[in-house]
């Protein structure tokens, strides 16, 4: 038995070490980006200053002064927040109806919704640009971006909400009906409190996807509604002589979302599996 205990202790130690190594390895690129953001462009490419250098805030100051970071960040916040709200406003009733009043076609509708996400955006880019520029005149507006971000996230949001709502025992809703609660009352008094966690994590994931979206946000904007994705696209200096600058902009663009993600990783996982994994 002593031998077993010995090997167990060994395997536990090695498992711990290995797990930490894997975690650090995956985090390393982000750490590296943050570290480089405190180096000047000249120091950032010199091997002898990999870890020993005098930290400087120049890149961040430069970023806010010359790149107008706050305007891009404000646009990211505005479009992501409103797109999330709009998606939820449209998605909640729909998911509610599907979960509590399913018909034979509910499953097909859900599948169809998900399949719209598979349409390659590039295939419809030109018509979209054409329509919004020449006919509707809403190209490069917050309104357009909010609408598009909502539409591309709506299928995932409806799916997630649907799976959360389905978890709610129907008996509770039935009992409410017996007590003569109206449909609206049913939603407000029973559904929302019970599904609050699910709605919150859906909103969060939707917000993250909106924030990170890099296809439509880059192509349907020029200056007015340009978000942080656009700022990064504009700053990807091809021959990388500006690592310091690049890192600062990148870190400032992903920082808020990473921190937000840390706080709610558990709910996110649950939501993303569409309730299929418990």
């Amino acid at each position: 038995m002593a031998i077993v205990a010995e090997t167990n202790r060994f395997s536990k130690t090695s498992r711990t070490v290995l797990a930490w190594l894997v975690g650090l390895l995956f985090f390393f690129p982000i750490f590296w980006m943050i570290l480089t953001s405190f180096k000047t462009d000249a120091v950032a490419v010199k091997p002898e200053f990999l870890f020993s250098f005098t930290p400087t805030l120049d890149n961040y100051i430069n970023m806010t002064e010359n790149y107008d970071y706050w305007r891009f960040a404000a646009n990211s916040v505005i479009t992501s927040v409103f797109a999330t709200i709009f998606t939820l406003v449209v998605g909640i009733p729909s998911a509610y109806a599907m979960a509590f009043n399913p018909s034979r076609r509910t499953k097909d509708v859900l599948m169809w919704m998900l399949s719209t996400k598979m349409l390659p955006a590039a295939a419809v880019l030109y018509p979209m640009t054409f329509l919004t520029k020449n006919f509707l005149g809403i190209f490069d507006t917050h309104f357009l971006l909010i609408l598009v971000l909502s539409l591309i996230n709506l299928p995932i949001v409806v799916w997630m909400l649907f799976t959360y709502f389905k978890e709610i025992p129907r008996e509770i809703i039935e009992a409410g009906k017996m007590d003569g609660v109206s449909t609206w009352g049913e939603v407000r008094e029973i559904l929302i409190p019970l599904a609050w966690g699910g709605i919150a994590s859906t909103a969060l994931l939707c917000f993250i996807f909106c924030w990170n979206e890099a296809y439509w946000t880059v192509r349907l904007t020029t200056t007015e509604a340009a978000t942080l994705s656009k700022l990064i696209e504009g700053n990807r200096a091809p021959e990388g002589l500006f690592f310091g600058r690049l890192s600062a902009v990148s870190a400032a663009a992903v920082g808020p979302i990473i921190v937000l993600g840390w706080f709610c990783q558990k709910q996110l996982v649950q939501g993303l599996t569409f309730g299929a994994v418990k």
């Binding site: 009043n101 295939a123 030109y126 979302i257």
Partner: protein
């Protein structure tokens, strides 16, 4: 109002919005794919405005099928998506098993691990291709330079010098060539999406039947057969989910391809559409229709496979 009617009414906004979002651009793409439509043509200015009189029939489709890039782009799309799926699922299962049992600092390791998933794709690409994979200035270049210096130094060392003088000088790999930049894309997307797979598999492993496992140990089952006959079947459903969600996201991969391989020949279907769309809208639209068909084949295959288990 009856319950049924109300339910339908509540669904209407979402369904209607998605229907418009799908049908309007799609029908325009379909229309453009059957006419001659280019943005710039000095000799045939009538082609620069979309009109039925420029009808081309299946001409655009033939043009695209004959373009040498088309089949390459299809293959490359499937290669990139397939590789990412394989790597994320394999790594995901291994890492999930590694961190499934409690160890000191598990919470912190979890937080470190999930972080890449929240990085925006544009930043991911810029970070990897410049600061990590660049053959001269990136960490790859620095690391290989360091190893080479070390070997040169050791060549003059007594006793072991002969051994190191046999070593070749290492060459850093440039990830900007056609083939290697596809690898670069695979590496960076795998880095971003493995955490997602890990977390989902871990959630699933928590619900694995421990009694069954103990019984297996008592019956003398080794670690491998426990994994093969208990853990892997248990992970079937989460693996299906991970594959489906990733397929949805990666078939339309664009930002990474664009940033890594601007103009070096590495392309997937969405990127090829973008290239055509610089001038030839007709061809871009025809390629778009092909991309829709490809996505549908994958979608039908996946949704059939996974849809059933999801609805029960």
């Amino acid at each position: 109002m009856s319950k049924r009617k109300l339910a339908r009414l509540l669904q209407t906004p979402a369904v209607l919005l998605l229907l418009v979002w799908m049908l309007v651009p799609l029908s325009m793409t379909l229309y453009f794919s059957f006419i001659r439509y280019v943005l710039n043509n000095l000799r045939r200015p009538e082609w620069t405005t979309p009109a039925l009189s420029n009808w081309r029939g299946f001409g655009n489709y033939e043009f695209v099928l004959d373009a040498k890039d088309f089949w390459f782009a299809v293959q490359n799309s499937l290669f990139i998506v397939g590789s990412i799926l394989f790597l994320t699922v394999t790594l995901g299962v291994l890492i999930a098993i590694l961190i499934n049992r409690a160890f000191p600092g598990r919470g912190i390791v979890r937080v470190l691990l999930i972080s890449p998933f929240f990085v925006m794709p544009a930043v991911n690409a810029v970070l990897w291709i410049n600061m990590i994979l660049d053959p001269v200035l990136g960490l790859q270049g620095i690391a290989i330079g360091g190893i080479n210096d070390l070997i040169t130094l050791l060549k003059d060392a007594p006793l072991v010098g002969w051994f190191f003088s046999l070593w070749p000088t290492l060459e850093p790999i440039s990830f900007r060539a056609t083939q290697t930049s596809a690898y670069a894309v695979i590496i960076m997307v795998t880095w971003q999406w493995t955490p997602f797979a890990v977390l989902i598999f871990m959630t699933s492993l928590q619900s694995e039947d421990q009694q069954q496992k103990e019984a297996a140990v008592l019956d003398g089952a080794g670690a491998w057969s426990q994994f093969r006959f208990l853990t892997l079947p248990h992970l079937g459903r989460p693996i299906a989910i991970v594959v489906m969600i990733q397929a949805i996201f990666h078939l339309s991969l664009y930002a990474e391809i664009e940033i890594v391989s601007r103009g070096n020949g590495n392309k997937n279907l969405p990127y090829l559409i973008g290239e055509f769309a610089n001038n030839n809208i007709g061809a871009a639209s025809a390629t778009g229709i092909f991309a829709v068909i490809l996505a549908n084949i994958v979608a039908i295959f996946l949704l059939r496979m996974i849809g059933k288990t999801l609805m029960d």
